[in-house]
Symmetry: C2
Subunit: 206 residues, 2 copies
Amino acid sequence: MTNHRQAVKSQSAAPKGRSERILDVAEQLAQRRGFNGFSYADIAEELAVTKASLHYHFPSKADLGVRLIARYHEAFTGALAEIDATIDDEAAKLRRYVALYDQVIAQDRMCLCGMFAAEYATLPAPMQVELRAFFDANETWLASVLERGRKSDRLTVRMSPNAHARILVQVLEGAMLVARAYGDLDRFRSAADHALAELGVGVKAS
Amino acid sequence: MTNHRQAVKSQSAAPKGRSERILDVAEQLAQRRGFNGFSYADIAEELAVTKASLHYHFPSKADLGVRLIARYHEAFTGALAEIDATIDDEAAKLRRYVALYDQVIAQDRMCLCGMFAAEYATLPAPMQVELRAFFDANETWLASVLERGRKSDRLTVRMSPNAHARILVQVLEGAMLVARAYGDLDRFRSAADHALAELGVGVKAS
DNA sequence: GTCTATAGGTGGATAGAC
DNA sequence: GTCTATCCACCTATAGAC
């Protein structure tokens, strides 16, 4: 019951901390313009603060980048846990998984980690490590869903769950990447639907 | 027979012009680091010239970027024409098409246009136009191969050739994107093989 | 065509007052 | 925690000599 997360003076529910606000803005910029496509000045302007105050929260841009990926990863993990907690059917789980990507592109954003993957060679090493951890976690979750779906005969998985999981991530990332250049959400959806159909997952029913 | 492409004084075959050399270096940098991840200084250092001399050939970076995409597009068009001129079988054509991507990632590069697609929102408008033209051309060529393959029963194309062509491009781009973050060529290959298998294209024989 | 020199701007980052 | 002020490296781009 007792919730003293950090502040006594704030009375409203879950008042986001300064750092979270900064991450929110940075995340949006990073997903739309890439890590090399935004600056502290961009964030500062949006939040109406100075660059110096941003450096107080995130001393270097590498720090900011690492936190960005870690938070994105945590949010994704949370969403996957939510799926696991509320859905049993594997086909439905996959539809929900794809819906996570759909929500991202619907906001005219690229997957944060897909974006960073493009810039991989220019990223600080700590960011590269976090980035792979994100993809690893996605592939692991998907592989386990595919495996259970196959055992229960609710999915048609023709290759190894692990290999197919990797392909799924690649398809979804690539679909977002190209769809965004056309500003065409449907390009993403038809690729995603196709990838699901291949596994015996229909668009609507289980 | 007569070949007076530009120079009288050069006796060796096809001596690349200064501009082409610049584009070669810029292309490599762009494919590895992205358009926002390299500078005139990087090119100048590699070619041991000054930045100012680069601006003589490409006044602005937007000019350079447009020429980069246009040349890449032309090279791709040439490769596709070569495929059409030497191969009849549609399955074999698709394998050759995938091999084009394979050669790119084998050099530790991302597809130039896949890379630029990630940075789309930050690109000068003329580059955005050229970028879409590249993808359009790819999709058109693929759609025609798929269509003929279906008519001749050499390919298994379950949806519209156009829709499937788009998906193919997305899969290949996404496969490169993620594979590069792992420095793992096989991640690209298994996704590509999977996409081909779905069309009834085996790994080796026709 | 390539150079030197430099303009004019923006990048990430720090010191120190408040 | 946020500010002002500033540093310095780097960026794209231009002027003008050779």
